[in-house]
């Protein structure tokens, strides 16, 4: 983030309140040690302890003013006990000895209250992890005052343009330490910051958002300018007849739609026959220009390099040249599938198994501007909204366009269009991708962040139009 000069002066005066800091790792290791000692004294055969600490802050603005401004600091201890082939989990945020002992005993009691699970695996032992550096002190130190001044710049911009700004500026830090009675110990900490802005220009609106680990790479005013310029262009939308259109999807629109595929790549979902990939693994399901990887180590990704059981995450090529090549596996689903786990399991116990949480959709070389320039008749989509699954096997999704739907004619944006409802199969859409832009970390409002490119897609199905 580019800090205004006034801000640097304020920092020098030292009149910023301290943003709470994460506890030192040793403190968290100490909690794990305490629980494991308690478990040993109670002769609980296997125990897993996860400590999560969160410091989050968020400044919210609307009508060109800050209307909500919040901070939270919490630490949760989550204990999983295994008793005679049965397991259960209990979490608490009370850290005194009695409360931790009670949580541990509850976990053992819950575990013992159920039938034996013949497929339960022993806990993992020690592992080595790839080091990822995703904790940026500058992000962790960002103060409420600094956020407020950046928000004021966005609001001032809106006022100068006769517009109304709304959005958020958040920052935070969190750490997780996972340990168990077999000696596993995994730790991870990260920072994150997001700026999201909607600019209203009369009845028209547009939007921009970014989410990063390093505050120095976040530029709120640039995002506000983008939203402002697009809002000005979004005025006086024409009503078009619904039908099939060539669409240019900006990365946020791609993310929020394609992101809905993430759980379909879980081996457990395929085994349960609730994935759209059931019976389709190994087949060419998408166009040859589609490649999807899960890569926790991609430089633009966030997230721990280990899964819910402490297994190191592997990079997995899910789709290559349109062919569904691999799924992700937890230890349990890997054993059932007679393959190796990929390090994507959720914390146990759970019924969902695993999922890829660091999707990277391969990009191309066509810039957004070039996509527009080579489109004779189509629509540029800023973002999508309220996306829900209508048909799980065809992956038919419905939702709305929002905050900037622009008509493209003869290679130029010629105006705005009223928002459409779409009913579109993602599988079909990914067979109709004409070209891709460079992939980058993108943020939407419906799905967690991923690395995705903009796409130009033919025959995208809009079924109805709304009133604005």
């Amino acid at each position: 983030m580019r800090l205004p000069a006034k801000n640097r002066t304020a920092r020098a005066r030292g009149d910023h309140a301290q943003t709470p800091e994460l506890r030192g790792e040793k403190v968290l290791y100490g909690i794990i040690d305490r629980v494991l000692r308690l478990a040993k004294s109670r002769r609980i055969p296997e125990t897993e302890v996860e400590v999560d600490e969160v410091v989050d802050t968020l400044t919210r603005f609307a009508n060109n003013t800050i209307h909500q401004n919040v901070a939270e600091h919490s630490l949760t201890v989550s204990i999983r006990a295994v008793v005679d082939g049965r397991t259960a989990r209990v979490s608490t945020n009370r850290l005194d000895e009695d409360s931790l002992a009670a949580a541990l005993e509850d976990a053992a009691f819950l575990a013992a209250s159920q039938p034996r699970d013949p497929h339960l695996l022993p806990m993992l032992g020690k592992h080595r992890y790839h080091r990822v550096r995703r904790f940026v002190p500058a992000t962790a130190k960002l103060s409420a005052d600094e956020r407020a001044r950046a928000v004021k710049q966005a609001c001032d911009l809106a006022e100068r343009k006769g517009q109304v700004a709304a959005g958020i500026f958040s920052s935070g830090q969190n750490q997780i330490i996972l340990g168990n009675s077999r000696g596993l110990l995994a730790s991870y900490r990260q920072t994150h910051s997001a700026f999201s802005v909607t600019m209203h220009h009369g009845a028209a609106a547009s939007w921009a958002k970014a989410n990063v680990a390093d505050i120095r790479r976040l530029h709120p005013v640039d995002l506000a300018k983008t939203a402002s310029e697009k809002a000005a262009r979004a005025q006086n939308p024409v009503e078009l007849v619904p039908g099939k259109f060539t669409v240019i999807l900006e990365p946020a629109a791609v993310l929020d739609l394609v992101g809905f595929l993430f759980y379909d790549f879980a081996a457990t979902a395929v085994h349960d026959k609730r994935s759209c990939l059931s019976g389709r693994v190994g087949k060419r399901l998408f166009g040859k220009n589609i490649g999807i990887t899960d890569d926790a180590y991609h430089p633009e990704q966030l997230g721990a390099p280990f899964d819910g059981e402490g297994l190191p995450r592997k990079k997995v090529a899910l789709v290559h040249q349109g062919v569904v090549e691999q799924l992700v596996y937890s230890r349990r689903s890997a054993k059932r599938g007679r393959t190796r786990p990929t390090g994507h399991g959720f914390a146990l116990p759970n019924e969902y198994g695993e999922a890829p949480m660091n999707l990277v959709v391969a990009g191309g070389t066509t810039s957004l501007e070039r996509m527009i320039a080579c489109t004779d008749h189509g629509l540029l989509v800023t973002r999508l909204w309220y996306i829900r699954e209508v048909d799980p096997y065809e992956k038919l999704m419905t939702g709305m366009t929002r905050d900037g739907l622009f008509l493209v004619e003869k290679g130029k944006i010629t105006g705005a269009a009223r928002n459409f409802r779409f009913n579109q199969s993602i599988l079909e859409m990914l067979r109709n991708v004409e070209c891709l832009g460079p992939a980058r970390r993108s943020s939407g409002e419906e799905m967690f962040e991923m690395v995705v490119p903009p796409m130009k897609v033919r025959n995208f199905n809009f079924s109805e139009v709304t009133k604005f």
Binding site: A62, G167, T198, W207, M400
Partner: protein, 486 residues
Amino acid sequence: MWDYCANSLDVARLRGATYGDVRAMHIRQRNLTTKNRQVGTLGQTESVGLGIRVIVNGAWGFASTDQLTRDGVAGCAAQAVTIAKASAVAKKQGVRLVPEATYVDSWQGPCLKDPFEIPLAAQLDLLLAADAAIHKVKGVTLSETDMQFRKIDSWFASSTGSKIHQRRVISGCGLVATSFKNDAIQKRSYPNSFGGQHILGGYELIESLDLLKHARQTAEESVALHSAPQCPTKTGTIILGGSQLGLQIHESVGHPIELDRVLGQEANFAGTSFLTLDQLNRLRYASPIVNVVADARSEHGPGLGTFAYDDEGVPAQCIDIIKEGQFRGYLSSRETAALIGLHRSGGTMRAESWNRLPMIRMTNVSLRPGSWTFDNLLADTDDAILMETNRSWSIDDRRYQFQFSTEIGWEIKGGKKTRMVKNPSYSGITTEFWNSCDAICSADHWVLWGTPNCGKGQPMQTMGTGHGASPARFRNVKIGSAFSNQ
């Protein structure tokens, strides 16, 4: 807890807060699920903490902590004050709140059987038996059941002298049968989709649902759907089952009447509303038989939106939203009420947890029952699709254009329920749809449905809301457009 509350309010006042309220909460939750005759999730969580909201220099600040010590809550209060001072950097006008009396009270919601006192083994046995009954039906490829229980204690104190303790127990339960066959996935849920039914109450809910009795039929319907014809694409008459109508109310009435949305405060995420202030008392929202209230009082029923006081310390109220088809009221807070000139808040501010800021949430937004028996409604209908149990829902960010699909549909021909249809869906524009309502079933068919998963706010908060509804009929509705491209 009261000491921590008082301590934090004192610190806030000493540091310059002109108003403050604090909410300490103790939340206990148990989640049980089964899948394919095995236990899936089995866990409990406990969370205790405190959040304080202050006004300093006419601007808001909020901070929360789980460090319940004298120093911990004092530091939290100081942080809230610092944040409020930062908010004032981008202030247009000072926050104004409509007045509210002070209350010292303690209230406990209805709960006949504390679910945390019911033996866990009995709860699991019931779920596993229901799961097995689903799984036994040929063609079912996935059987799932779930139970969730929450016990929430909250201690609210304000700088104006209110001290309110409330205890709410929430229970939820449901089952799902899924069948995969011939490149299609069909699903049936009981008593509702997405987690079943949820109420403010105890284990009596689970006993009343009789899961074992309904498991088999639910499973058989999921398999039968594969052989059913596709729901036609046309404009015609639909009858919505109560739970689907509850979600229709939630999306196309409950959200657009939230005054924070109307005033643009949710514009970046949840969106705004077509119910601009000039529409109040002017808009014909619905046909004259439609009456909708937002009622948080106990007498409305044990809904997820039932309480004694909201999280600003305002007593539960019943507000007319739509009266004989006319738009009559919004959901408001002390701040938004002041902004539009109301003399009192409607009492709808609620927070998900101690670490979240209270915001305007639906209470129990319910459609008043009509006079039809369900049998008479069918007999009076020549040609329609009866749609039951939500499968997908979507509506634009101003709440005009919506599309819903349901798990199952039935053709109504000549006054009789005839064959099953698969993949039913309908869509429309909110006011056109509600104005097409020409029959609502009676109180005998009215159920207060719980929607446990309403998301709103940044950071996102999930809240439970209640929606009373009985089956109702709508004319000239667009049917089947979700699948018209397939």
